[in-house]
C-alpha cells in the first residue's frame, strides 16, 4: 500500500469512526432505583429446586448483580438487580448430591427466554392464532373470578376442570384444596411417559405405590428391563452418581450391568451385556430367570413372598416359564437365560427393575409384577445394594377431599367431544396435552368445545394457545419452588427454596394467584393460607421438629429443603386381593401385514416428553447415540433399511392406522429388524421460536391403546409401516457432521 492510499484509508476509517460515535444514547436510558442493597461484583450462591422433571434435584444458583431491562408503570428502563447466572447441583441434597444433568443446566434459559410471556394476556383472535392483548393482573384475576362465579351461581361447580403436570407437595395440595372447596372434581395430572403401571405393581408387590430408589452404589449385579435410568427414567442424576460408585468407586470390585431392551438407549450403551428382546415379552424373560433360579435351587420359591404370589404358578416352580419356551417367546437364547439367572442369584447384592417401553404395553402390569417377583425371590428389597422405597413426606392437610375423582385424560377429552362431560371452565398448569397426546384422543377438538380456558403457562405452546386468558407464572428461579422426591434418596426429602431472584416481568406465582382468586369469589373459598409461602411453611417447617418454627423454616430455606428420618414413616399398604397373573401376549394396534413394524417412541435425552424443546441449549445438545441435534429422526435397522432402499438421512414416511409423519432416517444397529424407534420432543406446531416447526411429533400417530389395569397410554403398542419418500434434504443435523442446514437460519 502506498502512502497516498494509506492516508485515504485512514481518513475514511477515521471519519467513519467519528460519525459512528456521534450520539451516545446510554445516558438517555432511564435508570430505576435498585430495590436491593447489592455489593457489586460479588456472587452469592442461593439454593433452589429443579422443576424440569419429577426427580426434585436440589440446585445452587449463582446470583450476582447486573443491569436488567425492566418496565415499571409502563415505562421502560434499566435497573440494577441481583439475578441468577448459573445453576449447579446442591452438594448437600440427598437426591442430586451436587450433580445436575444437562437439562437442569439449561434450566436457566427458562428465566431468560426471549419468548417468555411477561404479563397477563387476554385472547383477541381465534383460538390458536396467538393474538392477545395485554391486561392488568386485577383485570385478569377478576375475569377468572367472574367465570368461576358464573359456575357457582348456576350451581354447576362440577364443570370446572383442572389439568396439570404430575405434581407433588404443597402446590398439589393447594390446587386440591382450591378445587375441593369450590366443589369441583380433583385435578387431572397428565404425563405422557407416566409411571403409573410401575407404581401400581410396586403397590401390589411391596405395598409401596411409588417409584423405586436404586441403591446402585452398593450393588454388584444390575439387571435393567428397558429402563433408561442413566438418561431419562426415574431419578437420573441420583442414578448416575451411584452408578459411578458401583463401577469405579470400590477398589477391586466393579459391579456388572445387563440391559434388556428392544431399542438401545443411552443407558443400554453403557451396559456390559446388552440383551435384545421381543417387545412386550420382558416379563416372560424375568420369570424365565426365576424359573432357573428356583429349579437350580439357588433360592427357594417362597422367598418371593407376597410378590411371588401375584404370579400364577409361582409356588409350583413356574413350569410354564421353562427356558426353552421363554427363549422362543423372547428371542433370548437358553444359554444366555441360564447364565444371567445364575449371575443374578449369585452375584449379590443384585437388583432388577423395569421402566420405559416394557411398561408401555398392554401387558405392562404383568411385566412389572414379574420383575418385582424376580427381585423379591433373590431378596433384593430394602437390602443394601437392592431396591428401597424413599419414605414419603405427607404434605397434604386433612382438608376436604375433592368431590369426585377426575376422569383419565382420554375419557375427559372423549366426554367433552361427545357432549357428555360439559366442562365449562378449564384451567391448565404445566401440561401440554394438545401436543403430548395421540391425535386419536381429539384433545384439540375437545378444547375447542370448552367455553373458557385459562392457562398459567410461561410460554405459548399448543395448549396455552387455546387459552382465553393467560396468567403467566414466575419462572422457578423467581418464585418459591418445591418438590417432594418420590425416589432417589434413602431418607425422606422435601426440597423447598425461596426465590433466588426478583421477578423480571409482570408475572405472579400460580399458588398466589389461586389464593387470590379464592378470596375474590362472591363466595370466598376460605383457604387456610394467605400466601403460597405460608402454605409451604405450615407443612414443611414442622418436619424439622424444633421448638421455634421460624428458626426451623429459616434453616430449611437456607439449605434448600428438609431431609432426614421421619418421626412417623408411613407403613406399607396391606396386600390388595388380586388374582394371580399370567403372561398374555401384548396387543398391538394395526394389522401385522399392513403395518409390519413395532413403533417405539422414546423420551429424548434433551427434551423428555417435549416440554423442554423451547430451550436452545437443549436443541443444541447432540443426542448421545446419533449425535443429532435441532431435528427429529427415526432409527431403522441396517437390514431393514437395505431391504426398503433407505439410506442414512433419507426422508421417510411413517404411517400408523391413525396418521403419518415424515422425518429423516438414521440407520442404526441398536434395534431389531421389525422395530423402528423415534425420539419424542420435536414437532411442535407452536412452542417459541426455537421449537416451532422443527421435526415431527411421533405421539401424534400413536394408537389410543391403553394399559387396561391403570388406564395409562400404552405408548409402545402401535404398529406402523415405513417407506422412503425422498432424498436427504438437510433436515437432519448431526453434531460436527455434514452441515447441510444452519440450525439458526431463519431465526430472528
Amino acid at each position: 500500500m502506498d502512502r497516498r492510499n494509506f492516508i485515504k484509508l485512514t481518513a475514511l476509517t477515521g471519519s467513519a469512526t467519528a460519525l459512528a460515535s456521534c450520539g451516545n444514547p446510554e445516558h438517555t436510558i432511564i435508570r430505576f432505583l435498585p430495590e436491593d442493597e447489592l455489593t457489586p461484583g460479588i456472587a452469592e450462591w442461593k439454593p433452589s429446586v429443579c422443576p424440569l422433571c419429577a426427580s426434585g434435584c436440589g440446585l445452587t444458583v449463582r446470583v450476582m448483580d447486573t443491569d436488567v431491562e425492566v418496565t415499571r408503570e409502563g415505562q421502560a428502563g434499566v435497573t440494577r438487580m441481583a439475578v441468577a447466572k448459573k445453576l449447579e447441583g446442591n452438594p448437600d441434597h440427598p437426591v442430586s448430591r451436587g450433580g445436575l444433568c444437562a437439562r437442569g443446566q439449561a434450566g436457566i434459559q427458562v428465566t431468560y427466554h426471549p419468548d417468555r410471556i411477561t404479563q397477563p394476556l387476554k385472547r383477541t383472535g381465534n383460538r390458536g392464532e396467538a393474538k392477545y392483548e395485554a391486561v392488568t393482573w386485577d383485570q385478569a384475576i377478576a375475569e377468572l373470578a367472574t367465570q368461576l362465579d358464573g359456575l357457582a351461581t348456576a350451581a354447576d361447580q362440577k364443570s370446572l376442570a383442572f389439568v396439570t403436570a404430575r405434581r407433588s407437595g404443597r402446590r398439589a395440595t393447594l390446587v386440591q384444596q382450591f378445587l375441593a372447596k369450590f366443589g369441583a372434581p380433583a385435578a387431572m395430572a397428565f404425563e405422557l411417559f407416566g409411571n403409573d403401571v410401575l407404581r401400581r405393581a410396586n403397590g401390589l408387590s411391596f405395598g409401596r405405590e411409588q417409584l423405586p430408589t436404586l441403591d446402585l452404589a452398593r450393588s454388584r449385579y444390575v439387571l435393567s428391563f428397558g429402563a433408561d435410568f442413566l438418561g431419562t427414567w426415574n431419578s437420573p442424576v441420583a442414578h448416575a452418581e451411584a452408578y459411578g460408585a458401583m463401577r469405579q468407586g470400590r477398589p477391586g470390585l466393579r459391579g456388572s450391568f445387563v440391559q434388556i431392551e428392544s431399542h438401545m438407549t443411552q443407558t443400554g450403551a453403557n451396559a456390559d451385556e446388552w440383551v435384545p428382546v421381543f417387545p412386550g415379552t420382558e416379563g416372560v424373560l424375568a420369570l424365565g430367570f426365576a424359573h432357573v433360579i428356583v429349579h437350580e435351587k439357588l433360592r427357594p420359591a417362597d422367598a418371593a413372598g407376597r410378590a411371588g404370589a401375584l404370579i400364577a404358578g409361582w409356588a409350583s416352580g413356574l413350569e410354564e416359564y421353562a427356558p426353552d419356551r421363554v427363549s422362543k417367546l423372547t428371542g433370548v437364547t437358553v444359554h444366555r437365560i441360564e447364565e444371567i439367572a445364575r449371575h443374578f442369584a449369585e452375584l449379590r447384592p443384585s437388583m432388577a427393575f423395569a421402566g420405559g417401553p416394557p411398561l408401555a404395553h398392554t401387558n405392562a402390569l404383568f411385566t412389572a409384577v414379574a420383575v418385582n417377583a424376580l427381585n423379591a425371590l433373590v431378596g433384593n428389597i430394602n437390602e443394601p445394594g437392592g431396591i428401597f422405597f424413599t419414605p414419603q413426606v405427607a404434605t397434604a392437610d386433612t382438608g376436604p377431599s375433592a368431590s369426585g375423582a377426575a376422569p383419565s385424560f382420554d375419557k375427559l377429552a372423549a366426554g367433552i367431544v361427545a357432549g357428555q362431560l360439559p366442562v365449562k371452565v378449564l384451567l391448565v398448569d404445566g401440561a401440554n396435552p394438545v401436543f403430548a397426546t395421540p391425535q386419536a384422543w381429539k384433545v384439540k377438538e375437545a378444547f375447542a368445545k370448552v367455553p373458557f380456558i385459562a392457562s398459567f403457562g410461561s410460554f405459548l405452546d399448543e395448549t396455552s394457545a387455546q387459552a382465553d386468558l393467560i396468567l403467566p407464572d414466575h419462572s422457578f428461579l423467581e418464585s418459591w419452588v418445591e418438590a417432594a422426591p418420590e425416589s432417589g434418596s434413602l431418607v425422606a426429602v422435601m426440597s423447598v427454596a425461596p426465590p433466588a431472584m426478583k421477578p423480571l416481568y409482570q408475572t405472579r406465582a400460580m399458588g398466589d394467584v389461586l389464593l387470590e382468586v379464592g378470596r375474590k369469589l362472591q363466595k370466598p373459598l376460605d383457604l387456610p393460607w394467605q400466601t403460597y409461602e405460608e402454605a409451604l411453611k405450615t407443612a414443611i417447617a414442622p418436619l424439622a421438629g424444633g421448638k421455634d418454627i421460624d428458626e426451623d423454616w429459616f434453616a430449611i430455606r437456607k439449605q434448600g429443603g428438609w431431609w432426614g428420618n421421619l418421626s412417623k414413616p408411613a407403613p406399607p399398604v396391606a396386600a390388595a386381593s388380586k388374582a394371580p397373573m399370567t403372561f398374555v401376549e401384548p396387543q398391538f394396534d394395526g394389522d401385522v401385514q399392513q403395518f409390519p413394524f413395532h413403533f417405539l417412541p422414546y423420551p429424548s435425552a434433551a427434551f423428555l416428553d417435549g416440554s423442554l424443546a423451547h430451550l436452545p441449549w437443549l436443541q443444541e445438545l447432540p443426542d448421545p447415540l446419533t449425535s443429532a441435534m435441532w431435528s427429529s429422526w427415526v432409527e431403522v435397522n441396517p437390514q431393514t433399511a437395505e431391504r426398503l432402499g433407505i439410506s442414512d438421512r433419507d426422508i421417510v414416511e411413517i404411517a400408523s392406522a391413525h396418521g403419518s409423519i415424515q422425518t429423516a432416517a438414521v440407520v442404526s444397529p441398536g434395534l431389531a429388524q421389525n422395530i423402528i424407534a423415534m425420539p419424542v420432543g420435536q414437532g411442535h406446531s407452536m412452542f417459541t421460536r426455537y421449537a416451532t416447526g422443527r421435526g415431527a411429533n411421533p405421539i401424534a400417530i400413536l394408537a389410543p391403546v391403553m394399559e387396561p389395569e391403570t388406564g395409562s397410554l400404552a405408548w409402545a403398542a402401535t404398529r406402523v409401516k415405513i417407506s422412503r419418500v425422498g432424498d436427504p434434504d438437510g433436515r437432519l443435523i448431526l453434531f460436527a457432521g455434514a452441515k447441510e442446514e444452519k440450525p439458526n437460519e431463519g431465526l430472528r
Binding site: M1, S21, P25, I29, P40, V78, R116, R689, R748
Partner: protein, 215 residues
C-alpha cells in the same frame, strides 16, 4: 490503483477476498430476510422486542467495540469530586472507599452510588441547591442516576481486574484514576494499558503471570 498496480499477488487476493466477504455479507442480509408470518413469530404484548441478538444496537457501537474504543463518559449530573474530597478531609466522615465506592474494599468492582447514597447526607445538607432538589425529585419517582463508567476494559482484553486486593495493598486510587481529588466530573486522563499494570506489579513484587489478570 497503487494497491493493485504495485501490490504483489498475495495482496491482490487479500483485496479480492475482503471485497467478496463484504459483498457476501451484504447479499446475505438482503437476500435472506427473516421469515415472518408464522404464529410463533408473533411478538406478544409485553415482550421487549421480537429480536434476540448479541449484536450491537448501532453501527457506531460495533465500530467502537471493534477498535476497543470506550466512548467518553457523559455523566447525568456534574458531580464535584473535589468538593467532596475536601469535605472528607476536614469535616464529617466522608471517604471514597467507604461512602460512595464502598464495593472497592470487598469486591472486584468499586461500584457507583445510587441516589439513595447521595441523599444519605443530602437529605439534610445543601437541600436548597438545584442539583440536590433534582436528585431528591428523582428518588421520589423511583429513578436513579445513570452514571457511566469512566474506566473499564473492552471485552476482548479478557481482563479480570479485582479492586479489593489493590486497596488492601495500599495502592492509592490516584495511581490508576489520576488526581480525582482535584477534578469535578471524573476525567479519564490516565491511559491504563497493560504496561502500567506490569510495571507496577514488578515494582511491588506482585505476581505477573498471564492468569493473574487475564481469563
Amino acid at each position: 490503483m497503487g494497491l493493485l498496480r504495485r501490490g504483489g499477488f498475495a495482496r491482490f487476493w487479500t483485496v479480492v477476498v475482503c471485497a467478496a466477504a463484504v459483498v457476501t455479507g451484504v447479499a446475505c442480509g438482503v437476500l435472506a430476510p427473516p421469515k415472518s408470518g408464522t404464529a410463533a413469530m408473533t411478538v406478544l404484548p409485553g415482550q421487549a422486542s421480537g429480536i434476540f441478538t448479541p449484536a450491537h444496537s448501532s453501527f457506531g457501537k460495533a465500530v467502537n467495540d471493534f477498535f476497543g474504543r470506550l466512548p467518553p463518559p457523559t455523566q447525568p449530573v456534574e458531580f464535584p469530586h473535589k468538593r467532596h474530597v475536601e469535605i472528607g478531609k476536614e469535616g464529617p466522615e466522608l471517604k471514597c472507599t467507604e461512602t460512595c465506592h464502598e464495593g472497592v474494599t470487598k469486591s472486584p468492582v468499586a461500584g457507583l452510588p445510587s441516589v439513595n447514597t447521595c441523599l444519605g447526607c443530602h437529605a439534610a445538607i445543601a437541600v436548597d441547591k438545584p442539583i440536590i432538589k433534582q436528585i431528591t425529585a428523582m428518588q421520589e419517582k423511583g429513578l436513579d442516576l445513570a452514571w457511566q463508567r469512566v474506566y473499564g476494559y473492552v471485552a476482548q482484553a479478557h481482563v479480570k481486574f479485582n479492586h479489593a486486593p489493590h486497596i488492601a495493598a495500599n495502592v492509592e486510587c490516584a495511581t490508576c484514576h489520576g488526581d480525582i481529588a482535584n477534578q469535578t466530573v471524573a476525567q479519564r486522563n490516565v491511559n491504563m494499558h497493560m504496561g502500567v499494570c506490569v510495571t507496577c506489579h514488578r515494582e511491588k513484587n506482585a505476581p505477573n503471570e498471564c492468569l493473574t489478570c487475564h481469563f
